[in-house]
């Protein structure tokens, strides 16, 4: 089986899984403490391996952004901000999709049904986070699925699991006892571009 057919199979399996999980009660989210990020790219590479994302700068599901606060020798201040699809509660990409290829699963993950996608890229334009890419393997728009294939086994998404300092914590926002809920309860946090009204499920601890 080639890498391409594996990618296609993964996309199909995830559609089936989403169907199977129609009554799921969870609402998955990620809480990030970016102060720990060292831009080592373990997450981006792990993501590519797990999801058969081909090599190429334009093929990405997740990324690490650099924020340079000040850079005039000898004073340099910068930080790193890993991110990915915000799995918005109010996802503009889903709203604009003319074929209903983009949709939200019962457990709140925004997915793309590659069979319905016509590559019109409205969703890419609508996404305020630039979180979607054109996949040459599925011949559809593709994006982060929180490694949906791992939901059945209860494993963390690849980016969460592999991270050296554990910048990301993954869990069920509906469960008050989950680590994500606790982190949100005891820390001040923010979301990216709150003015867009997208209600992201990626939360950044301040």
């Amino acid at each position: 089986m080639s890498e391409n057919s594996r990618a296609l199979k993964l996309a199909e399996d995830n559609q089936k899984l989403a169907n199977k999980r129609k009554k799921a009660k969870e609402k998955w989210g990620i809480v990030l403490d970016t102060s720990k990020c060292i831009d080592c790219k373990a997450c981006t590479v792990a993501c590519k391996m797990e999801n058969y994302v081909p090599v190429g700068f334009y093929n990405y599901r997740i990324w690490v952004a650099e924020d340079t606060h000040y850079a005039k020798y000898p004073v340099i201040s910068r930080s790193f901000q890993p991110s990915q699809c915000q799995q918005c509660e109010n996802p503009p990409c889903v709203h604009v999709c003319p074929t209903h290829a983009s949709y939200k699963t019962a457990d709140g993950v925004v997915m793309v049904d590659s069979k319905k996608c016509i590559l019109c890229k409205y969703c890419m334009t609508a996404c305020p986070y630039d979180a979607r890419y054109e996949s040459h393997t599925t011949e559809a728009i593709d994006k982060c699925t929180f490694c949906y294939q791992r939901r059945e086994e209860g494993k963390d998404p690849a980016c969460v699991e592999t991270c050296p300092p554990k910048v990301r914590v993954f869990g069920d926002l509906n469960d008050p006892n989950s680590e994500v809920s606790r982190l949100l309860a005891y820390n001040e946090y923010t979301v990216l571009k709150p003015e867009k009204g997208t209600k992201p499920k990626l939360k950044y601890i301040k």
Binding site: M1, C40, K41, A46, M49, V55, I76
Partner: protein, 774 residues
């Protein structure tokens, strides 16, 4: 490109866009990635999914992992959550390991050179043919020079390296040369002279950490990297480096120190701590030797003096010293790893060790901790004692030893001139070793075996390494890819990758030791073997040749027959069981959990117990060394002012990146992509760029007395104006490293080949370069 075309036909009207074209162009660059092994290798058809514990081999850390294998193909390598040493992580390089067996550029068959050296003409041969060729050449060389030491053995660490070392003993050469003198030899020497060992740092529990040049956020992702990042909010982290690396981004304070002056800062901190009475008097009295000498010695090393040397303000040095003492014993001057910086390195590392000792931050929570290990049972072998053997070429008195020292330190009385004072018998000193080969002093070395190491790219002064290879009559390289050194070899043996083979169990020593092992995640895809099999096979071949044994003792052949029997046809799992036989249940734990350990708790204070002795002459922490004066060296660390680049020249420093530490991962497309560029770039400060008439994106020629390279210019505020840098491992000479062959610039090419003569470590920050627009 095929896929892109299909898409353009089917959905042309929608999909045709700038983005698509750009992505297509990118795909062309790495088109080779598509040629995965499904088309070439013998891929297992084993259906279903399995999870196999093993360990990474891409860097020295050997993180335990679980491999997800789907239908006989490695799908993903995941971190092992039982393996506390990695803090449950797998770094970027560890992750791309999943692609290593399928890399189109990997070696697949034994090769014998048919064209000229370096021409790249090879014929594929069977293992038998390759072995016969090797055995014939080895015997020829030994006979010709009447000396088994006329064949050198170069290698770098790894779980199969011990079998390469066995091969060295079977052939009977004394000339083995290993990686430490390109890396941490001076660190081992400096710390050992004080504590009898090179310790680790308890970064997880330290409250105040000073790190000088050990770019932990990039060079290696180790437990220390992770603990520094995790402790960011609770810990004070001070970072000294001429470059604003990603470690600097993590730091509370970054000081762009003048390169080569770190020791001035350490001595001044010691001065402040002693003169202000901030040292741990009880600890110093009980556990150390030579404090009074030290007190006198550092009197002149005031923070004001150190400021003039290092350009770090005296007030900041005072602040560092006071904080260091205040937080003790949870204070660490980070020992680091690669220490091949400047000529005074051993004394500098000594001073760092001393700083930690006087505040009592030794073998206590949050300080420096001596490493411990889990002792494994090993097979004992008796290797032949041959007659035709000479002492190692870089050992004992070497009358040209002073030639490897930079000019400015040649008059220093604490630096040996006619030998390497503490040369490791197993490791040698790479720079001096190569010089001895080129000078043929004291005798000719004309054959080489190289395992896993790539001296062409890792030893400073590439032209000289090539000259050395040229002088060889026979070169055999064992590797998984066509390294630059393999490229210039006569025979190349393909090793199975770490995911296709068994490796013996290994104790990772550290603050809390843990045992790992390797087992095949998949069966070998190509006609490859492990180093163990290669050594056993070659030994068998030698046993068939009487000419090989003429200078051996009667019983030596029988010993070697026993050696073959120990390994031939014996599954590695049995060997691992034997290794672990002292620990009931250990093998089971290893196979199930992927690692074996007794406790994950750090055993503090073992060396501070009543009656405990350190491995120093006095058994105490030697602030003043007893051994050093006996060897003609300074008892206490004496500062040596480094030379500075003359007008118009810049100091070139070496550095690492989270995707590339050694020279073995630069060809991996996923890592080049994570790095963000296809080639390495010269970091130069805007003021200096202006002076040299360079703009960002220009190409420049960087030139030293060793060589010159053309490199893309990156104008940045992230470096000192007197210091330039580019990343290691680019500008390669092997055409089979498709993505980096002649792409970017090689640092080995321009690094001048200096070494210091206490530990024999190479000096990679002593090169001054001219920079001109290309």
């Amino acid at each position: 490109m095929f896929l892109l075309k299909t898409k353009l036909n089917r959905r042309k009207f929608l999909a045709y866009s700038g983005g698509t074209l750009a992505a297509g162009a990118m795909a062309t660059k790495f088109s080779t990635i598509k040629a995965i092994a499904s088309e070439h290798g013998k891929q297992s058809k084993e259906p279903g999914t399995k999870t196999v514990p093993s360990a990474c081999a891409i860097c020295v850390n050997k993180c335990s992992l679980f491999a997800d294998v789907k239908d006989g193909v490695i799908h993903k390598l995941n971190p092992n959550h039982n393996f506390f040493k990695s803090r449950s992580m797998l770094c970027a390089r560890g992750n791309v390991g999943a692609k290593v067996p399928y890399a189109p550029d990997r070696l697949k068959k034994p090769l014998i050179r048919t064209g000229k050296r370096g021409e790249g003409k090879w014929k594929e041969v069977s293992w038998d043919e390759a072995y016969d060729y090797i055995v014939e050449n080895v015997i020829k060389l030994i006979d010709k020079y009447d000396n088994r030491s006329s064949i050198a053995f170069a290698s770098t660490e790894g779980l199969q390296e011990e079998f390469f070392r066995h091969l060295t003993s079977v052939v009977g050469s004394t000339n083995s040369v290993r990686h430490p003198t390109l890396c941490l030899a001076s660190n081992i020497q400096g710390y050992s002279s004080v504590y009898g060992t090179l310790p680790d740092a308890d970064i997880a529990n330290a409250k105040f950490v000073v790190m000088a040049g050990s770019n932990r956020a990039e060079a290696f992702i180790t437990p220390d990297t992770i603990d520094l990042a995790k402790n960011r909010k609770e810990q004070t982290f001070v970072y000294l480096d001429p470059r604003a690396t990603k470690s600097a981004a993590l730091a509370d304070k970054w000081f762009p120190i003048k390169p080569g002056t770190d020791m001035a800062v350490v001595l001044a901190m010691i001065n402040v701590i002693i003169s202000e009475g901030l040292y741990d008097k009880e600890f110093v009295d009980k556990y150390t030797h030579g404090f009074d000498q030290l007190r006198e010695h550092v009197k002149k090393n005031t923070p004001e003096w150190a400021e003039k040397e290092s350009e770090i303000p005296a007030d900041e040095i005072r602040w560092m010293a006071r904080k260091f003492a205040e937080n003790a014993p949870a204070s660490v001057w980070y020992p680091g790893r690669r220490s091949s910086f400047t000529a005074n390195d051993v004394y500098y590392r000594r001073s760092c060790a001393i700083l930690n000792a006087i505040v009592g931050a030794w073998d206590r929570k949050g300080g420096l901790i001596p490493k411990s290990g889990i002792s494994l049972k090993s097979h004992e072998f008796i290797f032949p004692l041959y007659d035709r053997v000479k002492n190692r070429i870089d050992g004992g008195k070497v009358n040209f030893a002073a030639d490897v020292l930079p000019e400015y330190i040649k008059s220093n009385k604490g630096m040996p001139k006619d030998e390497v004072a503490f040369l490791s018998e197993a490791d040698g000193s790479w720079v001096l070793f190569r010089d001895a080969i080129l000078k043929q002093k004291p005798y000719p070395v004309k054959g080489m075996f190289i395992y896993k190491q790539n001296p062409v790219e890792s030893v400073p002064n590439r032209a000289k390494t090539l000259e050395m290879l040229k002088s060889m009559e026979f070169i055999c390289t064992i590797d998984i890819q066509m390294s630059d050194t393999a490229w210039y070899s006569d025979v190349v043996l393909p090793e199975s990758t770490y995911l296709e083979r068994w490796d013996p169990a290994h104790s990772l020593s550290g603050v809390a030791p843990v045992v790992i092992f390797r087992q095949p995640v998949i069966e070998p895809l190509f006609d490859t073997k492990s180093m163990k099999d290669i050594t056993v096979d070659l030994t068998e071949k030698f046993l068939q040749k009487d000419a090989f044994w003429v200078d051996a003792w009667e019983e030596d052949k029988a010993y070697m027959e026993d050696y073959v029997k120990t390994f031939k046809g014996v599954p590695m799992s049995h060997i691992i069981e034997h290794q672990l036989s002292d620990y009931p249940g250990a093998y089971k734990m290893l196979k199930e959990k992927g690692c074996f350990y007794k406790t994950d708790k750090i055993p503090y204070g073992k060396t501070l117990k009543e009656g405990a002795r350190l491995k120093t002459k006095t058994g105490k922490i030697e602030l003043a060394s007893v051994r050093y004066p006996e060897a003609g060296l300074y008892a206490l660390p004496v500062y040596q002012k480094p030379s500075q680049p003359p007008e118009g020249k810049y100091r070139f420093v070496v550095g690492r990146h989270a995707q590339f530490t050694q020279a073995n991962t630069q060809n991996v497309p996923y890592l080049l992509e994570a790095y963000g560029h296809y080639e390495n770039m010269l970091w130069i400060h805007p003021k200096s760029a202006l002076k040299q008439g360079l703009n960002d994106g220009d190409y420049a020629i960087v030139k030293s007395s060793a060589g010159e390279q053309k490199v893309k210019v990156h104008v940045t505020e992230y470096t000192r104006p007197d210091t330039v840098f580019y990343l290691h491992g680019f500008g390669r000479l092997s055409k089979w490293l498709t993505n980096v062959y002649k792409v970017g610039a090689s640092d080995a090419e321009i690094l001048e080949d200096y070494a210091e003569t206490i530990s024999g470590n190479a000096l990679l920050h002593e090169t001054f370069v001219e920079i001109k627009k290309a």
